[in-house]
Amino acid sequence: MIKNITLSLLLLCSFQILNAQVETGDILIKNGNVITITDGVQEDTDVLIQNGKISKIGKDLSARDVRTIDAAGQYVMPGIIDAHSHIALDVVNEATDPNTSDVFVGDAIDPFDVAIYRALAGGVTTSHAMHGSANAVGGQCETIKHRWGVSNPDDMKMDGAPRTIKFALGENPIRVHGEGNRIVPRTRMGVEQIFRQGFAKAQDYQAKWKAYKANPSAALETPKYDLKMETMSDILNGDIIIHCHSYRADEILMLVDVLDDYGVKKICFQHVNEGFKVAPELAAYGAGASVFADWWAYKFEVYYSTAYNATILTRNGVVTSINSDSGELIRHLFHEAAKTQRYGDLTDNEALKLITLNPAIQLGIQDRVGSIEVGKEGDIAIFDKHPLSVYAIPQMTIVDGVVRFDIENDNDDIRIDIDPEEKISSFIDHHAETEADRCMQDVFEYFADQKQD
C-alpha cells in the first residue's frame, strides 16, 4: 500500500507569494498651504515626494518626470490617521474567551472593503484595524495603510509598525462573558482579575521556557506552547502597545494600577469617555487617550460624558487623538477634530494634531507618518478649504506617494471585488441598524440563541 500521498508536483512554493511589494510613487504638490503640524502652516509651498517618501518641502521646487499637482489655494495636510477602526476586516471579535490574545485581526484583512476607499475620500491614509471589545484581553490589532487597489491583504499592512493589542473594560466584556457565558468577568472586579491572572501566568510561562531553553536535553519535559501566554509575555516585555477600550474613570485607574504592578508602560486608552476625570493620572503615567469627538449617552457607562473631553485631556498634557470606530465617522475625522473648537478652545494645530501626529504617537509610528516633514512617508490629504471648516471637501489622498483617491477621478462604481454569486445591486437601510454594535461585531451571531433570565 502506498504510504502517503506524494506531492512532488504540487508543492507550493509560497515564499515568494507573500512578500508584500508595497507600491510607492513620486509626486510634486505645488503651491499649497502646507499644514505641516510640526512646523506651522507654510503658505504657497511645494511638497515633493520621491519613492514614497517626502524628500523636499519648499518654494519653487521642481522635479523631472514627476506628476505635478497644482494645489494653489488648497490645503495640504498629512494623511489623517485613525487610531481606532474596524474597517477592512472580515472578523472583528473572537468572542469565545475573556482572553483571546492569541488571535490577530491582521489575519482577517479584507483589502476590498469599500470602506477603505470611503475613508480615503475623507483624507484618511492610515488606520488601526482593531479587534472588538468583547473580551477583557482581546486579539492583536493591525496598523494598516489605505493602499486601495491591492489584492494581497499583506500589502495593506504597515510593515514594521509596532504590535498592538486590544483590551476592553466595562460593559462589553461583562455582558459577553459574565451575562452571556456565566464566567468571570461579571463585574469590573472580575475584569481586573483577567489581566492580573494573564500577566501572572505569563511570568510563570516565561520562567518555564527559560529553564527549558537553558538546557533542553536535560529537561524533564517540553513545555507546552501557548500562544496566549506568548502574547502576554510580549506585553510584559514591552513589545506590544495596549489599546484599551474603556469608559469609566474607576476602571481606567484600575488598569493603570495593574500595569504599574507589572511594569507595563505602553498603554493608550480608547474611547475613554471619562478620561477627563482622571486626566492628571493619565498624564502622569504617560498613557495616551483616543476619544470620540462627541459620542455619549448611547449606553450607561458613557452617560457622564462631555464633548470637551479632548480639550480637557490635551490641556492636562495627555497625548490625545480623535478616532472614528465607525465606517461612517472615519470619512470625516477632520470634521470631528474641528468639534474640539466648539467644545473647547484648541488651536487649529492642536485640533489637527488629534488626527495626525498624536494618533501616530499612540500607534508608535510617529517617526514615519503624522506630519509633513522631510524623510516621512508620502501620505498626504489635500482639501479645497481649511480642513477644520465644515465646508472642506477632500480633493486628493496620497499614500506612499501614490494617489489613492482623486475627486476628479472618482468612478461610479469603485468596487474591486464583485462576488458573482451576489445580487447585482442591493440596498441596505443602515439607519435601521442599532448603534450598539460598534465594537461588538460578530458577537451578536454568537448570542443568537442565548436565553437569559
Binding site: W296, Y391, D413, R415, I428, F444
Partner: protein, 436 residues
C-alpha cells in the same frame, strides 16, 4: 438579551437621572424683554440685514429694525454677532430615550404594528439631560417621533424648553408611518430576498385592509356626527387616523429605497392624504419624480454611508442638495437621540455638497416650519413670530463659531449643559494629583 444589565442599570439610572444630581444641574432660564442691539440678522425669509436690532418681548419677536429702544428690556450688545432663527430638526427620538442601550429608558417603540394612537408627546422627558446639550448648538425645536411597526404612533413638534410636555408642545402633530420596504434592515438583516419581498407584500396588504376599515370608520363617524347615539364602537387606532384620513394632519412616511419611494408617492396619490416623506435615503435616484409629486421631504442624517456598496462615497452628503435642486422642498433631520446637536453640522455638509448655505439654512428653519403648518410662528426672524432664535459669533454651521445667547419662546436659556458643567469642573481638577 440585556435583561440582567437592565435590571441593575435601571436602578442606577433611576437614581441618577430622576434623582438629585445637584452638581450638574444647568441654570434656570429667565423670562423678560430683551433687546438685541446691532446684530447681523439672518432672517431667512428676508435676507441678511446688518446692524439691526431685535426686540424680544412676551415670548415673541416684538420688533425688528435699526435703532430700536425699550425701557423695560435688558439690552445685549450684539455688535459683530449674528442672529439666526432657532434650528428645527425634522426627526429625532430626543427626550424619548435617555440611554439607548438600556431598553427601559427607550420610549419610542411601542408594541404593535398599527398604533397611531401612541403619542410621542406623552413620553417626552422634559428633564432629559440631552435637551440642554442639544439646544446650546442652536437647535430650538425638534420633531419627536415614534418608531417601529407600520403606523408607529403620533409624532410631535416640541420646543426645547419647558417643564412639562404641554409647555414644550409647539402645536404640530403627524402620524409616523413606515412604508413597506424592500430594503435590508442593516447588515445583520439575515432575511432572504424572498422573505423581504414577502414581508413587504404582507405589510402592503395589511395597510390596504387597515385603510379600508378606516374608510368605513370615517363614513360612519361622519354620518353619526350629528346624532346623539352613535353606533360606532370606539377604536383608538381609527380615532387617531381620522385626522389623517380627513387631511387634517399629515402622515410622515418613512421610506428609503428608490423603488419604495416611487411606490410611496403612488400610494399617497391613490389615498389622497397629506404626506411628508421622511428618510428618503435614495431620493437622489428619483429626485425628479419626488419633485413632480409635490411632496415635501425630511431627509437625513446627512453624514451617512451609502446604502449600496457600489454607490459613490458622497451620495448621502449630496442627497439633500440633489433633491432641493430638483425642486423638492427639503428639510433635514439627524434621526438621532443624544447628538441632535449635530444638526447644524449635517446642514453644513449638505451645503458643501451641492445644497448651498442658503438652502441648507432653510432646510433647518423655514422649510420644516412650513411643512408643519407653523411657518407663521417659527422658522425665520420676523416681527410677530415666536422668539426662537440665537446669537452667534459667526456662521453656526462652522464648528469654531460660538453660540452666545439662546432664546426659546422668549425664554433666555443659559448656554449650559452637562457637557459644559463637566468641562468647568474638570478642566483644572482640584485636587489634582495630590493625595488629598
Amino acid at each position: 438579551m440585556n435583561r440582567i444589565i437592565i435590571k441593575s442599570i435601571v436602578i442606577l439610572v433611576a437614581l441618577f437621572i430622576w434623582g438629585d444630581s445637584s452638581a450638574q444641574q444647568v441654570a434656570k432660564s429667565t423670562y423678560g424683554d430683551v433687546l438685541l442691539k446691532n446684530a447681523t440678522v439672518h432672517t431667512i425669509t428676508n435676507g441678511v440685514v446688518e446692524g439691526t436690532d431685535v426686540l424680544i418681548s412676551d415670548g415673541m419677536i416684538a420688533d425688528m429694525g435699526k435703532g430700536l429702544s425699550s425701557t423695560s428690556a435688558t439690552v445685549v450688545d450684539c455688535s459683530n454677532h449674528h442672529i439666526y432663527p432657532g434650528f428645527i430638526d425634522g426627526g429625532t427620538t430626543l427626550a424619548l430615550s435617555e440611554v439607548s442601550s438600556v431598553s427601559l429608558t427607550n420610549d419610542f417603540n411601542e408594541i404593535g404594528d398599527f398604533i397611531p394612537q401612541m403619542q410621542a408627546l406623552t413620553a417626552v422627558n422634559p428633564n432629559s439631560v440631552a435637551i440642554p446639550v442639544t439646544r446650546v448648538n442652536g437647535v430650538t425645536s425638534v420633531i419627536v417621533k415614534p418608531a417601529g411597526g407600520v403606523f408607529s404612533g403620533t409624532a410631535s413638534l416640541i420646543n426645547l424648553v419647558g417643564y412639562t410636555p404641554a409647555q414644550m408642545d409647539a402645536g404640530f402633530k403627524a402620524v409616523a408611518m413606515n412604508f413597506p420596504s424592500a430594503a435590508k434592515r442593516g447588515r445583520r438583516d439575515r432575511r432572504s430576498e424572498e422573505d423581504i419581498k414577502k414581508d413587504q407584500e404582507k405589510a402592503t396588504k395589511e395597510i390596504d385592509e387597515f385603510w379600508d376599515k378606516l374608510r368605513v370608520y370615517h363614513m360612519i363617524d361622519s354620518a353619526s356626527a350629528n346624532k346623539s347615539n352613535s353606533s360606532l364602537t370606539y377604536q383608538p387606532e381609527m380615532e387617531a387616523m381620522l385626522p389623517v384620513y380627513r387631511g387634517e394632519i399629515p402622515l410622515m412616511i418613512n421610506v428609503t429605497k428608490d423603488k419604495d419611494i416611487e411606490a410611496a408617492i403612488a400610494w399617497v396619490e391613490k389615498k389622497n392624504v397629506k404626506a411628508i416623506l421622511t428618510g428618503v435615503t435614495e431620493g437622489y435616484r428619483v429626485a425628479d419624480k419626488i419633485a413632480a409629486s409635490g411632496l415635501p421631504v425630511i431627509t437625513g442624517p446627512v453624514q451617512a454611508i451609502p446604502g449600496r456598496s457600489e454607490e459613490r462615497y458622497d451620495v448621502a452628503y449630496a442627497n439633500a442638495g440633489i433633491m432641493s435642486n430638483a425642486g423638492v422642498k427639503v428639510a433635514l433631520r439627524t434621526n438621532d437621540t443624544e447628538n441632535v446637536r449635530n444638526l447644524p453640522f449635517h446642514a453644513g455638509f449638505a451645503a458643501a455638497y451641492g445644497m448651498g448655505v442658503d438652502e441648507a439654512l432653510k432646510a433647518i428653519t423655514i422649510n420644516p416650519a412650513e411643512m408643519f403648518g407653523v411657518g407663521d410662528k417659527y422658522g425665520s426672524i420676523e416681527k410677530g413670530k415666536i422668539a426662537n432664535l440665537f446669537v452667534s459669533t459667526g456662521d453656526p454651521f462652522e464648528m469654531k463659531t460660538r453660540i452666545t445667547h439662546l432664546f426659546i419662546k422668549g425664554w433666555n436659556v443659559p448656554i449650559e449643559s452637562r457637557h459644559t458643567l463637566l468641562y468647568n469642573e474638570f478642566l483644572e481638577r482640584s485636587p489634582g494629583l495630590q493625595e488629598k
